[in-house]
């Protein structure tokens, strides 16, 4: 089966996000009253696996080994059939 894993990598709570702060200030200059904004990186990976569980495990291993840096990142994985 082919699955699509959507991986979202975010900065851990407590790790400051200067890019988000800059975007937030810019939005507020445009007149929006944004009080909180966070950035995230998203990766969409096509994975061949026997079932959804295996696809998820593969995606999680990708996060652990490359896509996220455990010192500063959290990640979430969503898997769906394609």
């Amino acid at each position: 089966m082919t699955y699509e894993a959507v991986v979202r990598v975010t900065l851990k709570g407590g790790v400051l996000d200067p890019e988000a702060k800059t975007i937030q200030r810019s939005l507020n200059r445009l007149g929006f009253g944004v009080e909180n904004l966070r950035t995230a990186d998203e990766y969409v990976v096509e994975i061949d696996a026997v079932d959804e569980n295996e696809a998820r495990e593969q995606a999680e291993e990708m996060c652990e080994r490359l896509l996220a840096n455990p010192t500063i990142h959290d990640y979430t994985v969503e898997v769906r059939e394609t």
Binding site: L11, V15, L16, D17, P18, E19, K21, T22, L66, L67, N69, T71, I72
Partner: protein
């Protein structure tokens, strides 16, 4: 002592480091990252600055996972001096050779300027020529230099902070911190002390014409200790 300065696609300080090392009579050459045997045979290794793999994913993330890093790790385990400068420091963190990670500068800007550093330990090849508390001027040039340790207490307890960013009075103030690094940390050593990661560029402080040659005493970590 022959030093291999490892060039990845996108490294751009490799030749500068090799030239600075030769100025202090340390034989050094750039080595393409695929020429792994040359790295395995080198007496010392430098991972130079630049933008390996275009900083894709995260600065240093791709280079950290190339096969040559296994050779670099072996050299570290053998006790050879290994120094990561700027992008090279990011590569050492990304490959877990030293602890921690580099995040975007708090200013969200690329910072390219001379900074003052205080020597925090002399128990490493790269600072053995200094006295603890000495200050040096060495430039930085980075956008992702905010050091975030995994375990700050362990770094401090094991005396593994190499340099801190300090002001003209030698104090690690917020104003003197160019990127928001935790505890003003500008450089660290690994568990075995012969491997160091630092964001400032000693090769850019290697000649009086550059304003300072303070960096030569750092690079002297690659010279024969018996030469003094």
């Amino acid at each position: 002592m022959t030093v291999a300065v490892v060039s990845f696609g996108g490294s751009n300080c490799d030749r500068d480091v090799a030239k600075a090392l030769r100025r202090i009579d340390v034989p050094a050459d750039t080595v393409w990252y695929k020429d792994e045997e040359e790295v395995a045979d080198a007496d010392g290794v430098v991972l130079p600055g630049g933008f390996s793999y275009g900083d894709y994913l995260r600065a240093g993330a791709m280079a950290a996972r190339t096969p040559v890093m296994e050779r670099v790790r072996n050299r570290v385990d053998d006790g050879a001096p290994v120094l990561g400068i700027c992008n090279g420091a990011q590569i050492l963190c990304e490959s877990d050779v030293v602890q921690g990670a580099y995040a975007q500068n708090l200013s969200a800007r690329f910072r390219c300027e001379p900074v003052r550093l205080r020597v925090e330990t002399t128990d490493t090849p790269f600072t053995r020529r200094f006295d603890e508390g000495d200050t040096v001027e060495i430039p930085i040039a980075h956008a992702e230099g905010r050091y975030v340790p995994d375990d700050l207490d362990a770094l401090i307890d094991d005396d593994r902070v190499l340099f801190r960013y300090v002001d003209e009075n030698g104090e690690p103030t917020d104003e003197a911190n160019p990127n928001g690094s935790v505890d003003n940390i500008a450089g660290i050593v690994g568990g075995s002390r012969n491997v160091a990661a630092m964001m400032p560029h000693p090769e850019r402080a290697s000649h009086p014409l550059l304003g300072t040659d303070d960096g030569l005493d750092v690079l002297a970590g690659f010279s024969d200790p018996s030469d003094g």
